[in-house]
């Protein structure tokens, strides 16, 4: 039921006080605008950080070794030590709740000079020796060819998976790297797969697309690592908190390697579950803060609307009196004032919403244009969800009604005769 007279009256009332209507509406506009911008920025930060670790198995933990910090069983403090091959079987035998266990070796680091050669091309990359289980924990996708598999491990094949940046540096543009050979630290390896990491955080530092992965056993033998293991990645069995597995594993490794049980430093570890929770808490906190500040600002705007409506009612007391004298029911009067308030609030809020979303979209475009190097960006795709927008709009309508209700009640409580007398 479109009521032309109602809208005519609303518009003429707002027009009569252009500046005041504008300033009032601005309060609501600003509230919604801030809510959208802050929420979008918070979401962007969340997207940036979470995209980097989302694909990690959320039940994974990682272990490395550090110098001991306490003397124990005849050893001095400051001893350097390594995990060994026997640890692998030992852990599998003694810790039940493990789903995947993947030992890793770090090859010679890139910054020690170029470690990879092919014809006249040379490059410096991060070289890892891994088990196929590793791809279950920190997922990689083969873009071409295949991933390292169990047969590569058993036969200690000299094959590698390489990242996209490696392809760029070591091969010509239209060359197919699959089946080609790379000389890595003096030994030739055949490329069997080009792979892309699904997470953006690289264990052990460095850029993810500069990775070369070879079978663990191959690396151990080829580069004379003996039975050293540098690093373990572990996931807990479904339903088991990885923190428990982490604690149990640390205890086990300490006793096996004669490290003081209270040495907090020697076994370094990192647990995605804990990090995940930390981040989730952080971003939930940011969202809550956003809503508190946004709603607070919005409330200020809504109170402004309510206030202005009271003034309008006061000014129009006589007019309302006339209308009531010639037959306007209280319901009609209330309806009229509430409609005016809702109109003002929703108009202003909608503009705020549209501008806020527009600004976020611009920001997104600017960010995407600037992010040729996507790995290093921790602020991406600022956005507001549809639910958020609908939520904000319903908050607007409800607050518009509330803002109108008080003045409307006031208007109706005036007797028509008092309203007429008011001059």
């Amino acid at each position: 039921m479109f009521d032309l007279d109602l809208w005519k009256e609303i518009l003429s009332a707002l027009k009569k006080n252009r500046m005041r209507s504008f300033m009032t509406a601005f309060g609501v506009f600003w509230g919604i605008f801030m809510l959208i911008i802050m929420s979008g920025a918070g979401k962007a930060l969340e997207n940036g950080v979470m995209d980097g670790i989302r694909a990690f198995a959320s039940n994974s933990a990682f272990f490395w070794t550090e110098r001991t910090s306490k003397p124990y069983k005849g050893f001095q403090r400051g001893r350097q030590w390594n995990y060994t091959n026997t640890d692998i079987e030992y852990i599998k035998a003694n810790v039940k709740d493990i789903e995947y266990l993947s030992p890793r070796l770090f090859g010679p680091r890139g910054y020690e000079g170029d470690n990879t050669i092919r014809g006249k091309k040379t490059g410096s990359f991060n070289i890892y020796g891994d088990y196929p289980e590793f791809f279950k924990i920190d997922p990689w996708t083969p873009l071409k060819g295949r991933l390292i598999n169990q047969i590569d491990i058993i036969q200690s094949r000299k094959v590698v998976n390489i990242g996209e940046r490696v392809v760029e540096v070591m091969f010509d543009k239209d060359e197919d790297p699959i089946g080609q050979y790379l000389k890595i630290n003096g030994v030739y390896f055949q490329v069997v797969g080009v792979i892309k990491g699904e997470t953006r955080v690289n264990i052990g530092g460095g850029r993810k697309n500069e990775t070369i992965i070879m079978p663990f056993t191959t690396m151990q033998k080829t580069y004379n690592f003996g039975d050293d293991v540098h690093f373990f990645s572990v996931t807990s069995a479904p339903g088991v908190p990885v923190s428990r597995v982490e604690a149990r594993l640390k205890e086990l490794l300490k006793s096996k390697h004669k490290i003081a049980p209270d040495d907090m430093q020697a076994v370094g570890s990192f647990n995605i579950e804990v990090e995940w929770k930390k981040y989730m808490g952080l971003f939930t906190g940011i969202q809550i803060l956003t809503w508190i500040v946004g709603i607070g600002t919005l409330m200020a705007g809504v109170i402004g609307v309510s206030n202005i409506m009271l003034v309008i009612i006061k000014e129009r007391t006589q007019e309302i009196g006339i209308q009531r004298a010639i037959g306007a029911t209280p319901g009609k009067v209330i309806m009229h004032i509430v409609a005016e308030s809702v109109f003002l609030t929703v108009m202003a809020g909608y503009i705020g919403l549209a501008l806020g979303v527009g600004l976020l979209e611009l920001l997104n475009m600017a960010l995407e244009a600037a992010s040729s190097d996507a790995d290093s960006i921790f602020f991406r795709s600022p956005e507001v969800s549809f639910q958020m927008a609908v939520g904000a709009l319903s908050v607007l309508v409800i607050s518009g009604i509330l803002a109108g209700l008080i003045p409307a009640k006031r208007a109706v409580s005036i007797k028509p005769i008092d309203a007429l007398r008011d001059e």
Binding site: S12, I322, Q323, I326, G327, A328, T329, K415, I417, L420
Partner: protein, 241 residues
């Protein structure tokens, strides 16, 4: 049509109570043309407001068109006003941002008549008061007499049984006052009861019955035939005052 029985009304402001109407008994028949007179503070406007259901009363009984008007809900009162009663005010009380036609059509808007239809009817009524050419004009573009004619058209559009006019000529010069009174007479001739408040005796003299109030009581009711006498007496009173 209208029957008042011992109606009392007082205004309470803080601890002070002002007893305005001290027991009014009044009968007005259908089709009468009545004026209520009295000095200021005699309660004439209060009486008119009670009659028009714009105000409530404390004690007594008021029957309008056969039904008791007391402690009515605002909604009911509004509907009754809309159906039975038309108002004409001293200060016209037109809505400033609506043109003459829209002002006249307003009561029909509250009855839920659609826009096209009510504007058409409004034009008919504007024609009756001789303002058809002014339909698109806003109130501030019209003279006082024109505004009052628009207000009369507005009071008539809902086809009321009674017109209440609170000093309808109070803001007008003598010539336009008489024009407005002519219109009111015509309305009355069409069978509608007209009740007006005035303190101008020449205006009152054009009506058929004068109710004189004094200190919240009915002092005198003068019927048609006695008007000349009343006029004389009134003039005398003015001289002595």
């Amino acid at each position: 049509m209208i029957s008042l029985k011992n109606v009392h009304k007082s205004y309470v402001t803080g601890s002070n109570s002002l007893h305005v109407l001290k027991g009014i008994d009044l009968e007005i028949q259908k089709g009468e043309f009545v004026s209520i007179m009295g000095s200021s503070g005699s309660g004439k406007s209060t009486l008119l407001n009670i009659l028009g259901i714009l105000d409530n009363y404390d004690d007594g009984a008021y029957y309008l068109n056969g039904s008791l008007v007391k402690d009515m809900s605002e909604k009911k009162a509004a509907q009754l006003r809309n159906e039975l009663v038309g108002f004409v005010f001293q200060s016209f009380n037109l809505i400033s941002f609506k043109n003459a036609m829209e002002n006249v059509a307003l009561p029909l808007y509250y009855q839920g008549v659609n826009r096209k239809k009510r504007n058409k009817i409004a034009l008919e009524y504007l024609d009756k008061v001789g303002l058809l050419d002014w339909a698109e004009h806003l109130p501030n573009e019209m003279s006082g007499g024109q505004k009052q004619r628009v207000a009369i058209a507005r009071s008539l559009i809902s086809q009321p049984k009674i017109i209440f006019a609170d000093e309808p000529t109070g803001a007008l010069d003598t010539t336009t006052s008489y024009e407005v009174m002519e219109i009111l007479k015509e309305i009355n001739a069409g069978g509608i009861t007209v009740i007006l408040v005035t303190h101008e005796h020449d205006i009152a003299a054009m009506t058929q019955k004068i109710v004189r109030l004094k200190d919240g009581r009915i002092d005198q009711i003068i019927k048609n035939g006695d008007l000349k006498h009343f006029q004389h007496q009134y003039a005398k009173e003015l001289e002595t005052a």
